[in-house]
Amino acid sequence: MSPQIALLVLLPAAAGFAAWLSRSVRAQLVLLLGAALGHVAVVGSLWLHLPLPTPGALLGLDALGLLVLTLASIIFLASALYSIPYLTEGTHDVPSSPLRYVPLLLAFLTAMSLVALSRHLGLLWASVEATTLASAPLIYFYRRPGSLEAAWKYLLICSVGIALALLGTFFLGVAAAGPDGRGPGLGIDALLQAAPTLHPAWLRAAFALALVGYGTKMGLAPLHTWLPDAHGQSPSPVSGLLSGALLNCALLGILRFYAIDTASGHAAVSGRMMLVLGFSSLFFGAASLWGQRDYKRLLAYSSVENMGIIAVGIGIGGAATYGGLLQLVNHGLAKCALFLLSGNVLRAYGTTSQAGVRGAARRIPLTAALLGVGIFAMGGAPPFGFFVSELTIFLDAMRGSAPWIGAAFIALIGIGFVAMARAIFPMLQGEDADCPVVMGRRSSAHRFLALGPPAALLALVLMLGLHVPHSLDTILRSAAALLGGSP
């Protein structure tokens, strides 16, 4: 194991422990920022030179892991910067214990890094469960009855869901075992190597359980019931992390199983299962966007929709796999940006109700402008990254044997976009005089920290639409190859 990989886990863990011991929010913020910057720097060094994973080691990094890890790292840095004004100046709600925020956030980053780095399915499971445990107390950071309800639902539904994923993990171990009960165990490398000899019936059952289990945590409909509550009730930087980084970690759990199915030559059935759940989420997500009255829940349902798009892309296979993975990057960056911006709106208006926000273009012009840009980007308008990824999936589906898949795909995305635009744009227009002023103006440094991170994330989404950098392209292609897509 290379020292960088150990550092990715140890750095946030140590900083989190130090923050837990510290009794001042200021010192905690220094630790948070230091760990976030250090994490991004180490991940950056891995892009320059990716050490080959040692076969059989518990931790290591391949293209899929690197993709999820990098996204988590960038989004964490953005959320950490945004958290500075958030914690120091307070919001409309008073948290009961502000000193818990930073240690939990860093524990969350540790767990997410472990998910991306795990080369053992048991360890992967334990890390995904650890992300649930670290993030649940963050959801009820403000001790409102609603956020308590959301945290309880999240804890129970996700824990039960991924207990099924553990059963699926054991099923995979059984599928790999020989007649004497000995087998390669649950190491990902060993399972990939033994893939052609796996027992097909147990393999199928294992994938179904993993899809349902990790799918619960990923927010695939109809298992998404916890998601709008948790994302709607969390502090905005936490919502951004949950939506932009955590959902991808759960998806990675499914993709590890999918990669083993691909290597075994039994991926056709698994792909169809992905396609069905993906379309179900796309449909539920797009339909639920209509009639939402709370803009944070609106963004949460849009995550359900996007997880569906990613699952559909990977389920179709071929070139669409690449599109699905690019969609994962786009969605992570853009959704985190939108949740951070929703925090600015919440601060200015003191409500998450869409009806309570009017004239945002006057009161918070920069936030409003970025919000408008973000909605267009997510809707798949050129020249943003979503346009490229959604078009890739659409074209591949039309080329395939069932063009109706492509038609339904693009229709649902259109329906979702109209619903989002109809909900958000009235908030930006109109007179803001009727809406009470809740908080005073921020200092310019704080305004910069509240606007800079989302603006930078949206700029990255724009860049992905204009040109996918060569190094990212290589990683996306080798990740797609692991999943049986065309490289």
Binding site: L58, H120, G122, L123, W125, A126, E129, A130, T132, L133, A136, P137, Y140, R143, P145, G146, L148, E149, A150, A151, W152, L155, L156, S159, V160, A163, L164, L166, L167, F170, G173, V174, A177, G178, P179, D180, G181, R182, G183, P184, G185, L186, H199, A201, W202, A205, D229, G232, Q233, R293, D294, R297
Partner: protein, 218 residues
């Protein structure tokens, strides 16, 4: 020698049925602790039937960890939550007690049928292992879905997790101890965090009914 694992696995199903049929929360938690003890003995018993003497360090660690966490630490946490919250009984469950017992019997039957369908490709020392594991997964699910009290839902989650643990014993030899202990630790911390949430629920809502928390829109 194979009667001992059979006995233990049968006992696990019976305790699971008892959990579903009782309305007293403390009894439910104690039953869960009993399952923890059985789970702790089970790996040793299975290894004996395989004729592995002396016991491997791996199995001793696994048994010790299971007993310490599932039979001691978690039940103590939950019993404390019950005392603090001052609740004793599950009233008006979503699925009535009589209904649950009938449903539970059907689920155990289903588990035996599934166990017959899914034959393991290798011998594991007892034919009851897969039916017992699936029974507990299904009974745990019934408790999570069918009950209103937060504590019963946690006990249900534990029963489900115990079922998964039993199934995992088929692979006990193939797994690193580190990973198994991490999984056990996750469950402990999970119940700890749930316990804190229960504490806040009982303070905020003045009771432990999770369905009263219906404030969030669909």
């Amino acid at each position: 020698m194979s009667d001992i694992p059979d006995l233990l696995l049968g006992l696990l199903i019976l305790v699971g049925l008892y959990m579903v049929s009782t309305s007293r929360l403390q009894a439910c938690v104690r039953a869960s602790a009993l399952q923890g003890i059985v789970l702790g003995i089970l790996p040793i018993a299975l290894e004996w039937t395989h004729g592995i003497v002396p016991l491997s360090l791996h199995v001793i660690t696994l048994s010790g960890g299971a007993i310490a966490i599932k039979a001691v630490a978690i039940p103590r946490l939950l019993l404390r939550s019950i005392r603090e919250a001052g609740v004793r009984r599950e009233v008006e469950p979503m699925v009535s007690l009589h209904g649950s017992i009938l449903l539970a019997a059907a689920l155990v039957g289903l588990a035996f049928w599934l166990g017959r369908q899914m034959t393991l490709p290798f011998p594991v020392g007892s034919d009851l292992l897969v039916p017992s594991a699936i029974s507990n997964v299904l009974l745990g699910f019934l408790l999570v879905v069918g009950r209103r009290k937060a504590i019963t839902q946690v006990v249900g989650y534990l029963a489900l997790e115990n079922g998964v643990f039993v199934f995992g014993l088929t692979l006990a030899q193939a797994q690193p101890v580190l990973v198994e202990l991490t999984v056990l630790l996750d469950v402990l911390v999970g119940v700890f965090v749930m316990g804190i949430a229960i504490h806040h629920i009982s303070r905020t809502f003045d009771h432990l009914d999770t369905d009263a928390m219906g404030s969030l829109p669909e």
